[in-house]
Amino acid sequence: MMGRSSKVIERDEVVVRFSGDSGDGMQLTGTLFSNTSAVFGNDISTFPDYPAEIRAPQGTIGGVSGFQVHFGHSEVFTPGDYADVLVAMNPAALKANAKWVKHGGTIIIDVDAFDAKNLEKAGYKTDDPITEDKLGDYHIIKAPITNLTKESLKDMGLDNKSILRSKNMYALGLVYWLFNRPMEHTTNYIKKKFAKNPLIVEANLKVLREGYNYGVIIQAVTPSYHINPAAIAKGKYRNINGNIATAWGLIAASKKANLELFLGSYPITPATEILQELSLRKDMGVKVFQAEDEIAGICTAIGASFAGDLAVTSTSGPGLALKGEAIGLAVIAELPLVIVNVQRGGPSTGLPTKTEQSDLMQALYGRNGESPCVVMAASSPINCFEYAFYAAKIAVEHMTPVILLTDGFLANGTQTWKIPDLADYPEIKAKRVAPEDEATWMPYQRDPETYVRSWVKVGTPGLMHRIGGLEKDEKTGGVSYDGENHERMVKYREAKIKYIENNIPEQDILGEPESDLLVVGWGGTFGHLFTAVEELSEEGVHVALAHFNYINPLPKNAHAVLKRYKKILVCELNLGQFANYLRMNYPDIQYRQFNKMQGLPFSVVELKEQFKKLLEE
């Protein structure tokens, strides 16, 4: 690395946002930068921000694609509210993102893209966007990225399109300089990715280096940042997003359960990637059935479960609505089934590419009759792995459908993941019929403590039986229209789910347990809530946090935990569904709500404000 002479800003953590037109390669740029930071030893959290349209017209705000990365020398839990550094490849990118830059932050723009046409497309009224957006106090690095890239590659015999595609590497080089980052990771990546096209490799590497050098040249006028590596546990690491983590968690469970994995699914944003990843995993023996619709997705999974596979279906809100009737079938048949629901903005088609937590009530109650099943929620991109694993474990061991809720934010966001050792995970053991019990076994006979019936694979000699959606006799499973039997069965099914509270972790309290205020959250908001609570703690403001992953059943100690606090604030990205659910379950406690419905996560800033206000009340 070259020596530095300009001002160096020492920081614990930094947020960088790359933004440009959909075609500008910002997702790749961001990914390379975050992986480099992760390899360097920083903890990271990222979030991509795709345009809702496949390809909105070039240069418009609708077409801006962004990628935010937050990295630091200790653990980071969110991609960050506001960016320290913004890269804006065109005026639309600046327009769309300026409001997300910290006051006084650094903004790198490709001045060559700031011509009259692009300014107009982005909705600027003047030819001076910096003044127009009141960015006078910011460090603006006006780099002629397009021209320098062209200049750099002009003699290499590349076509114009390929040359322009390399712009992002120039920007990336510049950002590497800004953070004093090594470039090996990116260099290796480029070499591997374009191995078949040495010219492209050469061009990209050249531009990357020149971007870095451009930083060296302009360093006198620009601060650069220094973030020390995190003190990170030994082991292997990778970046992973919530969807891949979910897919892998299911694969892990299938290995631990010694069951084949079956997915029946239909594509839907933002859940499709789970289907895609598992389709790729034929190497791991995963059977994937891309169904004609969501109903067939779950019904094939139910069939596979009957046949003895670890069966899964994955979807998002509108798809979950379609699956409601069939979930009821799995409930009454008492078959294991994992239903992954990646929540997005609703109602109806709503805001398909945005995040929200508004499917909780649907997961709990979106079907006819008293139809209880397990509902749980992952709370970070990487713990989607764990909760997918445990969803499968509970489904198999308790013979029940389990709905695992994630959301668009978790699904697409990434974190650094310490690659786990499967040996550290518990076994998954289905209840089977012991040979000595075969003679007396009945299909709906239950374990007297757990109320679990046994799971017999189709194909097992001697245990042929019939199941179905009609109410069944409590022992034989034959159709029963008897009213009292029905009431008993309704209660068994309820009790079976309730019993699971004995097999899940107790609810813990994070932040400052000794506080007047308990913040309650669930699912994907964990990173923001936790960061807010931690930051307040550093400021000397004590707030406790109870973040729920198990919703039905709730942890056994949940009531006791909640009872301890004077003020409880339930924070959710909906109108208060979990708060209402707590009101049903623990009506002797008062709950306040903080809700947001903007297709976005909470910001740490707004959370801290709320908590402080409430403490002062």
Partner: protein, 338 residues
């Protein structure tokens, strides 16, 4: 356990008492399926019978096999899951005209398109029996029922035509009370690799009695139906003197020995040709213009989904360098902190 074994049809009877109305065609079909299964020599525990909802869909309860009485219209999807999860099982789907062709139409055509190795027995009584008598997608135009008190204003699906439109490779037709024919047809369906659709003209004594009577009644049957056999001449009639011949693009009935027609002119049935045109014509034949075709109308070998899925898993696994969970999570962009 051996796949081949001596079985009696009573080995396929469950001990539940059968609850269809006295005189319902379903009884005979149950009988035929049990006998066909015994002939097929597949042990009951390797058989899964999957149904939707409807009178006919009560079927699995009466079978001493694995059975699943699922939800309305979804039998094809559940059965697909069973078969793909375990292709060694023999999977039978029992369904009604409402279950398969009203609410379940989409799964039905996609099952056929994928050609999953499932035997579908379609009980066509042209009525919703279980809900007590509303018209179905196979009810004839003008049919009067509880929901069409002035007659329907829509044409029915013809199950054979729809099957072929969805690229079906096996279609057969039989009549509830023709147990012998039903057994034959069901055995052929079961032996066929791929989706087999067997339409059974079934009588609902309560809500649509005698709907097929014009062709199924003993008095007329010989003259109004034709039993097709691959490789055989298409001959029918009480006196076996009628036959089918081409007439331009159409089929017509002739009497052998009349108008100059001889046995040589009569068409020979080819159930195995992949050409659908003739099969469509045969499956669409209707009384009074033409005899209704019974037996196996089409039976064509083709790629089978569940077989291909299994094969692809084998192929990929043979080639991949990733075979364990550890290898998977360590593939790609991974770094080590020491």
């Amino acid at each position: 356990m051996s796949e081949e074994c001596e079985l009696k049809y009573t080995d396929f009877k469950s001990d539940l008492s059968v609850r269809w109305c006295a005189g319902c065609g379903d009884h005979a079909i149950l009988n035929a399926v049990q006998k066909a299964m015994a002939n097929l020599k597949v042990e009951p525990h390797n058989v899964a019978v999957i149904s939707g909802i409807g009178c006919s869909s009560r079927f699995p309860y009466y079978m001493n096999t694995y059975g699943f009485h699922t939800i309305h219209g979804r039998a094809s999807a559940v059965a697909s899951g069973v078969k793909v999860a375990n292709p060694n099982l023999k999977v039978w789907q029992i369904t009604g005209d409402g279950d398969a062709l009203a609410i379940g139409g989409n799964h039905f055509i996609h099952l056929i398109r994928r050609n999953i190795d499932i035997n579908v027995i379609l009980f066509n009584n042209q009525i919703y029996g279980l809900t007590k008598g509303q018209y179905s997608p196979t009810s004839k135009r003008g049919f009067i029922s509880k929901t069409s008190p002035y007659g329907t204003v829509e044409d029915p699906f013809r199950p054979g035509e729809l099957t072929l439109g969805a690229r079906g490779q096996f279609f057969a037709r039989t009549i509830d009370k023709e147990i012998k024919l039903s057994i034959e047809v069901m055995e052929e369906a079961a032996r066929h690799k791929g989706t087999s659709i067997v339409e059974v003209l079934q009588n609902c004594v309560i809500y649509n009695d005698k709907t097929h009577e014009a062709i199924t009644d003993k008095k007329y049957k010989a003259d109004r139906t034709i039993i097709l056999q691959h490789g055989e001449k298409m001959i029918f009639g009480v006196d076996n003197d009628k036959g089918l011949v081409m007439d331009g693009m159409d089929i017509k009935t002739v009497t052998i020995g009349q108008d100059g027609y001889t046995l040589d002119d009569i068409l020979v049935h080819d159930a195995y040709t992949h050409h659908g045109a003739m099969h469509r014509k045969l499956s669409n034949m209707d009384f009074p213009e033409l005899p209704v075709a019974l037996g196996v109308i089409r039976s064509v070998k083709d790629n089978v989904y569940d077989v291909s899925v299994e094969q692809q898993l084998v192929d990929v696994q043979a080639k991949t360098s990733i075979t364990t969970f550890e290898e998977m999570v360590n593939s790609g962009d991974v770094w080590e902190v020491e």
